[in-house]
């Protein structure tokens, strides 16, 4: 379990003092896979490094498994090596002067949780078979591929059976195919070890597929915490909507309860209670929630438009549709047979719209 309360961190840079963390509050539950998601510079890595004790926060409190490890207010900062954690680095940080075995055994021999000699090799082989590297024990660390180094780093991080596993963009140095493969495996490994995981990434697909919960961060603040489904279906604000997944954005003005005037025309949509009549809002909708028809059908809200372009991607086709001079992106199955220049009708289910101030 990790609990972070009111975490602040300042950096002194050439341009003066920069506030990297502006009060972070979050709780990661036992055995949960918790993902920090955000663009570079949003403070996600700084948060992780504060939990690891590699950075010293300026205010706030960090608790690991019920024990306070960082509390600048009380002048408390337990050094990294005394925290019950394992960590996987972006560069893997495999010690180049050691073999695979030595790398994984090092925490057991020199680290906090030293184990009797005869148990070392047993624990190391168990960790290595967990990451499917059996038989590579004697390989020098410098002779490994990127994917293999990644696995060694993983084995080394879990070999001491820590309460907390920290991962800093561990997949970002792998190529696309390997990344997806490792993503699945990562999830399996952490689940089988049953470790509480704090994971940092800038890749939203990674965050959605890995996380039990996802925390979207922006400029040192938390934007939204929720399950992947939550974050994707109901982005908390405009930033989260822009950052997670694709969205069409349309400016509009509230004209009544559940009713917004926009360049597309008058639309029915779930206007939040905070928006009064007359206030300017932004409407957002995902490309896969727009439906195209050849002819208007009765009942549903329909917008007339024209196909401006088509982008065939195999499994899907992306269409750009022009409605009243506004471009909308629409995602359909790859075999949809709309052609450029064709007149069509766009159908929207009103509850798919998201409305932001």
């Amino acid at each position: 379990m990790i609990r972070i309360k009111g975490l602040h961190k300042f950096y002194r840079t050439r341009h003066g003092l920069v506030e990297a963390l502006r009060g972070i509050d979050l709780e990661v539950e036992e055995r949960e896979f918790f993902v920090l998601l955000g663009a570079s510079g949003c403070g996600k890595t700084t948060t992780l490094r504060c939990v690891a004790g590699l950075e010293k926060p300026d205010a706030g409190e960090i608790e690991i498994s019920g024990k306070v490890v960082s509390s600048p207010g009380k002048g408390l900062n337990i050094p990294t090596e005394k925290r019950d954690i394992g960590m996987v680095f972006q560069s893997y940080a495999i010690w180049p002067h050691m073999s695979v075995f030595q790398n994984v055994a090092f925490p057991l021999i020199k680290g906090r949780k030293q184990v009797p000699k005869h148990l070392v090799s047993e624990k190391v082989s168990r960790a290595l078979s967990l990451v499917k590297l059996d038989g590579l024990e004697e390989r020098p660390a410098t002779d490994l591929s990127g994917g293999q180094q990644q696995r060694v780093a993983m084995a080394r991080a879990v070999v001491t059976e820590p309460k907390i596993l920290l991962m800093d963009e561990p997949l970002s140095n792998l190529d696309a195919r390997l990344r997806e493969e490792m993503r699945l495996e990562l999830k399996k490994i952490t689940r089988s070890v049953g470790v509480t995981t704090l994971y940092v990434t800038h890749d939203q697909a990674e965050a959605l597929s890995l996380g039990d919960r996802v925390c979207v961060m922006h400029e040192g603040e938390i934007v939204q915490i929720g399950t992947p489904q939550d974050v994707y279906a109901r982005p908390a604000n405009l930033f989260a909507a822009q950052f997670v997944g694709e969205m069409n954005f349309i400016r509009g003005k509230v004209t009544g309860p559940g009713q917004v005037d926009s360049p597309l025309g008058r639309l029915r949509c779930p206007v939040p209670p905070a928006c009064q009549t007359g206030s300017e809002v932004t409407l957002a909708i995902r490309p896969e929630h727009l439906i195209l028809l050849h002819h208007p059908s009765q009942g549903s809200e329909a917008l007339e438009g024209k196909i401006a372009s088509k982008n065939y991607l195999g499994d899907t086709s992306l269409f750009e549709v022009e409605v009243n001079g506004t471009a909308l992106s629409v995602k359909l199955p790859g075999d949809s047979d709309f052609a450029v220049g064709q007149q069509i009708v766009v159908v929207v289910a009103p509850d798919r719209w998201r409305v932001y101030l």
């Binding site: 050094p79 090596e81 960590m87 940080a93 090092f106």
Partner: protein
């Protein structure tokens, strides 16, 4: 039937050769390789040749092993070899004692005034070693040294308090002079180390002390070892300290022995004997260079340059800040401040004396005013020629070599790179002796003996290794596709080089050119070995003043030399901040 088939095959090969034939860049690279091999190989060949001959250069005569027999059956030779080893070892120890803590303090801690310290270290390289040595003699000489004068005045000692005229004294001065070069080499290696390697150990629950011993030390070991080997290789061949302190104290090492054999104070020069000593030195240089290259390669395997890479958190020194600063100041004082102040003080007085009211009242700039009367304009003109010609020649060659090595697909580019690196292993005193012998023995094909040209050639060969290392690293940074884009646009290869490659590498090349110019300016070993009345430069003038015992004039000229170096470093501080790093001729 068979001969016919063979003939057919031969024809096929010929045909192919003619059709695809050696292209322009292969011919060019071949020519470059031959040229480089000749200028780098000739001095070494001359050293070998002179060791196998007796009598004067050019006398010919049969080849003989008599020089080797004479030298290596003489017991005093082994004494000299032992001295050389002790001197080199002591030098490396002294240099590392200062360098390793300095690198750690500047790279990893929150030590204040880092930029200023960097600049002073750079300046330290440019203050000629012989000037520093002279300043220390003025301070610690048993007879005239200020410290000993002062000690006898205060305590009435009848014997000197300290003396520099011994092996530890020599090793100390030489070691102190090696520190800045060693610092930049080691700092460069340190910078490419991934800080996450350390952090990974902390997160694995390993304490700071254990991490230092099991992670930091093993990972930096190849780099430290490489620096050690490099310093040792250089220390075996250095000449200035052994000549200025060692010769009067009758402590001979290989380099001073080679010098006195070819430039004896009395009697005839013995090139054969010099060659026999030089052979050992050359061999040692080559062996050490081989180990150096291997260690550097091993060290590279250990460095991972990460994409983003967090800058490691600086370790807060806290209350250790001022002791650490005191350590840095102690070093900088020995390297820069004390020598300069001693020279400055001495340069203002009619003779060397302790600070006193009487001394203060006799202060004047007279020594500075009289310098031109003694030297004339020639040394200044010659030095200026060196400072322009040497960097031009060295950088032109370096750029061409690097282009072939890094850019072309020529099959023998590796050999070219190795040949360009070889001067690193060639002690400068041997290079000069070899060139001198060439000039004397083959006057008709190499008519440069006693001219400034021979010094230009010596310097160029000496710094081609450093030049190509820097141009290699600069050239690697220019993406190959930039060049290919030029070719695709239909521009010829030479024009692509001139219009695309050259402008992109210009800043880096200029920087290392300035650096070579300054190294040439402060160089004395080769200039002295190849000295004649026509090619005298400022550094050899200082040397001769010192030999004649003109202490105040030496000091005045020394102060001028240092101030000029300060001006250049000051003016190019920004550009310089990266130049020294590639490491080099200390």
């Amino acid at each position: 039937m068979q001969p016919m088939a063979a003939q057919g095959r031969t024809m096929g090969v010929l045909d192919r050769l003619l059709r695809n034939g050696p292209d322009g860049s292969t011919i060019f690279a071949g020519g470059l390789l031959i040229f480089l091999a000749v200028i780098v190989g000739a001095p070494a060949a001359m050293v070998a040749l002179m060791s196998l001959r007796t009598g004067f250069p050019g006398e010919g005569g049969p080849l003989t092993l008599i020089n080797f027999i004479r030298v290596y059956t003489d017991l005093s030779t082994y004494n000299v070899l032992l001295n050389t080893l002790l001197f080199a070892t002591g030098t490396v120890v002294v240099a590392l004692i200062f360098t390793v803590p300095l690198v750690w303090l500047l790279m990893r801690t929150d030590l204040p005034f880092k930029r200023t310290i960097y600049v002073l270290l750079t300046l330290g390289i440019l203050i000629p070693v012989f000037l520093r040595t002279i300043a220390w003699i003025l301070l610690l000489s048993p007879r005239i040294g200020l410290v000993n004068q002062w000690a006898s005045q205060i305590f009435g000692l009848d014997h000197p308090l300290v003396s520099l005229y011994n092996l530890p004294g020599m090793a100390f001065i030489q070691g102190v002079s090696f520190v800045p070069g060693a610092f930049f080499m080691l700092a460069a290696a340190y910078r490419t180390m991934d800080p996450a390697l350390e952090e990974a150990a902390y997160t694995a629950g390993v304490s700071k002390l254990r991490t230092f011993f099991w992670i930091n030390i093993p990972i930096t070991l190849p780099a430290i070892a490489a620096v050690m080997v490099y310093l040792f290789m250089t220390a075996i061949a250095v000449f200035e300290v052994p000549a200025i302190i060692g010769l009067p104290a009758r402590i001979l090492v290989l380099s001073s022995l080679i010098y006195t054999s070819t430039n004896p104070p009395t009697g005839l020069p013995e090139y054969g004997v010099a060659g026999a000593y030089g052979g050992v030195m050359l061999l040692a240089g080559l062996v050490l260079a081989y180990f150096y290259v291997r260690l550097v390669r091993q060290g590279k395997k250990y460095t991972v340059i990460t994409g983003r890479g967090y800058r490691p958190r600086e370790i807060a020194l806290g209350r250790w800040k001022w002791p650490a600063m005191a350590f840095v100041m102690l070093y900088l004082s020995m390297e820069v401040f004390i020598p300069f102040l001693v020279l400055l003080w001495t340069s203002l007085l009619p003779y060397l004396q302790l600070p006193s009211a009487a001394a203060l009242s006799s202060i004047s700039l007279k020594n500075y005013r009289t310098i031109p009367d003694y030297t004339g304009a020639l040394p200044f003109i010659n030095t200026a020629i060196l400072m322009v010609a040497v960097p031009c020649c060295a950088m032109l060659l370096s750029v061409l070599v690097s282009w072939v090595v890094i850019r072309s697909q020529v099959s023998f580019r590796g050999i070219l790179d190795t040949v360009a690196f070889l001067p690193h292993a060639m002690p400068s005193i041997l290079l000069a002796v070899g060139l001198g012998y060439l000039g004397l023995a083959y006057r008709n094909i190499f008519p440069f003996y006693g001219t400034i040209v021979i010094i230009i050639i010596a310097h160029t060969i000496n710094w081609i290794a450093y030049g190509t290392r820097t141009t290699n690293s600069v050239m690697i940074q220019v993406h190959r596709e930039l060049e290919e884009a030029g070719k695709v646009a239909g521009v010829s290869a030479p024009r692509v080089f001139l219009r695309i490659v050259l402008p992109l590498v210009a800043a880096g090349v200029f920087n290392s050119g300035i650096w070579i110019s300054m190294l040439s300016y402060r160089e004395v070993t080769m200039a002295l070995t190849l000295y004649s009345r026509k090619n005298t430069v400022i550094s050899t003038v200082v040397w001769q003043f010192w030999g004649s015992g003109w202490v105040p004039e030496v000091s005045a000229l020394g102060v001028i030399l240092v101030i000029f170096a300060v001006i250049v470093v000051g003016a190019l501080r920004i550009g310089f901040s990266r130049v020294g790093e590639v490491g080099s001729s200390v």
